[in-house]
Symmetry: D2
Subunit: 140 residues, 4 copies
Amino acid sequence: MKVIETPIQVRYQETDMMGVVYHANYLVWFELGRTAFIEGLGFKYAEIENRGVVSPVIDATISFKNPVRYGEDARVRTWVEEYDGLRVTYGYEVVHKDNEVAVSGQTKHVIVKKDNFRPVSIRRSFPEWHEAYVQAMEPQ
Amino acid sequence: MKVIETPIQVRYQETDMMGVVYHANYLVWFELGRTAFIEGLGFKYAEIENRGVVSPVIDATISFKNPVRYGEDARVRTWVEEYDGLRVTYGYEVVHKDNEVAVSGQTKHVIVKKDNFRPVSIRRSFPEWHEAYVQAMEPQ
Amino acid sequence: MKVIETPIQVRYQETDMMGVVYHANYLVWFELGRTAFIEGLGFKYAEIENRGVVSPVIDATISFKNPVRYGEDARVRTWVEEYDGLRVTYGYEVVHKDNEVAVSGQTKHVIVKKDNFRPVSIRRSFPEWHEAYVQAMEPQ
Amino acid sequence: MKVIETPIQVRYQETDMMGVVYHANYLVWFELGRTAFIEGLGFKYAEIENRGVVSPVIDATISFKNPVRYGEDARVRTWVEEYDGLRVTYGYEVVHKDNEVAVSGQTKHVIVKKDNFRPVSIRRSFPEWHEAYVQAMEPQ
């Protein structure tokens, strides 16, 4: 299984008065992991949208183990957990410098047409992405 | 079961280039619903922190049914889904003007000491909140 | 001069580890003030965009006097400071409960076509907004 | 004069329904430039706060020339524009790939005690930072 690891620079703006990263921001870090993962497959998300489709999140789960603080070196690891030709579920782990897991989660996505949000089959409409997702789930 | 409904004014800043509210922002709206719910119980979250504790999220799940757009009148409904004296799970529904559900989700919280993030029993340390949570789950 | 005052509910998400509202968020509050001001003129910003134009900020200045904290009742006051038929400069004051000024600032806007960002004359293309801006600057 | 240049990865979350980066986010990018600049001086902002002080913004100006879009390679250039022993004014330019200026601005900062927000003289209390700021303004 392909796993891509991306360094995260904690922004002061991302902290809250609890002194740690505000919980919703980990979903943004998942976005950064997903972007890096897609680039690791040889695509760019920005180009995907140029083809008239967008890829909204339809489900997300997040488990917060222990918080990341400003000044820390964090990383997000991203992989494909499930894929059925229509829906992609990414898995994520945000880890501290010592590899301890700070936050883990999943986001499930579909591809829809930009103008009417109607679902599109990845397998049929974007066979090169389909192939890349299938390969990303195989032992590397 | 007590359910509190709060109007949400969609901010332009909350939209993304997909033309809809960026998915992580619904967690912020859940925060607004939770704040209103806690006030509905007769407390203020800001005062909770004055007592040396904070209430981080330990788990979150979100299901995105159809997006909210700028200019729309949305509302968030909040209730207590589970409570065991230590952990509170809030349930949420973001609804459109016509009551159609846009987003639903849960967040699970604990109370921890502000300085060392050690868990605190709500039942023992904050009996008035304990009582309020128990009552909020009963038929109203 | 027309001045519109809007209550602001401080979001936990808007605070940072300094324990106060993160400075960039006051620009978002200015957006809320501006939206309320435009509604006070009888328009809705969301409908402006339906006419194929958007209204980007071209200049902003912000002066931070003393910070707003979570749990406080803040308000933003908005008015039109300058208007020449092409460019609108809004003035803002974020005030504490006791009317002390927390933050003040200005944002200057133009109207441009959504698809190519070319400037549009408000006076010629949107005479009803032109009239409203001119009246908003007069003694009320 | 010392100038530090930092690459910026545009986040989808930073865009708005205008299809470009939401204006307040450039202040966050200025924060990233400032952080890199301070590291270029041999310090870390996170460690500054460990010494019981914080460095809030007291004034900001931003001029938006043309917007940055998702998928672009942007960079922020940061330097010290003014420094008098008490207040530091940073200058910034966000540039596109072809060096065209997208956004320019300044932020003025003081150092204050974390617990009471009372101002602290950089020159007297932090002579090593003072020395670094003075040198950063000299021809390199």
